[in-house]
């Protein structure tokens, strides 16, 4: 055992960036495409989707909504997979 486990450190930085900054960025991308369309504009009125006009999330553009759904699904899948991995690593089947 060395003093600094460089390979673990390196992994934490890289995976940390991918999961800790990449996933929220993907979520942001989803929010952005979701807002495409006429309904989130500055002149939007409080419509059928309810709530104040200013914080409407869904713009109404179909392509935007599809892209957003894909982005959100990837984020959720990545979280689920991450939790599963942690569970696997954290419960060694047989302990010496």
């Amino acid at each position: 055992m060395s003093w600094i486990n460089l390979s673990a450190l390196w992994k934490i930085v890289v995976f940390g960036l991918v999961a800790g900054a990449g996933l929220p960025a993907l979520f942001a991308g989803g929010l952005y495409t979701l807002s495409w369309g006429p309904r989130t504009g500055k002149l939007a009125t409080a419509g059928a989707d309810g709530g104040e006009d200013s914080d409407a999330l869904v713009g109404g553009n179909v392509l935007g909504m599809v892209l957003a759904a894909i982005a959100f699904l990837i984020v959720l899948a990545a979280i689920g997979w991450g939790i599963y991995e942690v569970y696997q690593i954290g419960h060694p089947a047989v302990k010496k």
């Binding site: 060395s2 995976f15 942001a28 929010l31 979701l34 409407a56």
Partner: protein
Amino acid sequence: MLVLVVITALCFDFTNGFHDTGNAMATSIATGALGPRTAVAISGVLNFVGAFLSLAVAATIASGLVDTKVVTLTVVAAGLAGGIIWNLVTWLFGIPSSSSHALIGGVIGSVMAASGGSAVLWKGLVSKVILPAVFSPLIAGLVAAVGTWLLYRISRSMTEGARKHGFRIGQIGSACMVSLAHGTNDAQKTMGVITLALIANGTLAAKSNAPIWVIVCCALAISLGTYLGGWRVIRTLGKGLVEIESPQGMAAESASAAIILLSSSFGYSLSTTHVATGSIIGTGLGKKGAEVRWNVAGRMATAWIFTLPSAAIVGAAAEALAHSIGGTLGVVVDLIILAALAGFIYYRSRGSKVDHNNVNAEWTGGVAPEPAETVAA
């Protein structure tokens, strides 16, 4: 005797949850994404779940830091006393110090008092505790800064209202992940200590994993502590360091969750507190024009440096006292002193109360908001 030690350990776990709710939920509460009481309730539940998720850190505490051969129940009790006292003192001042370091410091102090420095596995201490403590806030800060920059960049053409609304939802998700991560890391520490006590008592063989009832009790204690909420620490983290907007909150929490989960699975018992603080500062650096209150950050860093040695000194003193009285009585005397101190600290805290009513009041330099607001609440 064993029962006493286990109860003390669970008390520590309780203060741990109490102290660390802030790490997960401070930014959500500060941006208004979650109501304060909802936030602590969710966090409590997820801490419970997280406690079952990974056992890697418990293994480190139970076998990687001190020579298990010299550990007696008295030593464990004295170490816990050191950890609890330090947690309560820092809570009184609203300083988010590391509960992990408090615990580890306490145990190391009492081991040294009992059987000298050679019983401490210094190499394990440095490579699994001290170095991660130095690196983790830096890495978390970096990840949070990058995340913050990306989020603002991607969302810059969205309307202000949509952005705020959208990222609040994201923030709730990421805050939940931090709570989960906290359970995987911090609940483990107490499990590790109880396992250590069981090994010392001969109930378990050396290098055993934590038995299931230990996991359940620890999960419960930490959830309860979390639910009751350390409002003082939440306030420092959420309002004191950086004024946070919801995209920043999400970036900070995602960074914390990712780093804590990754490190937990490598068995590093890092401090969720250090990571969360690093992330929050990082998110202040990642946004143009945001202001980091470096004096508050500096005060925290100072407390961090002192955490290990101070808790060690208290742990050592408790061990020396218990040893000089001897036997179960020694431990009982320790615990009575501990309870008295805890009561005193609680009494002091009433003077400048911070609770879910005033946790978000404007930062005026001190931990507790101006008294007028407290009276109104």
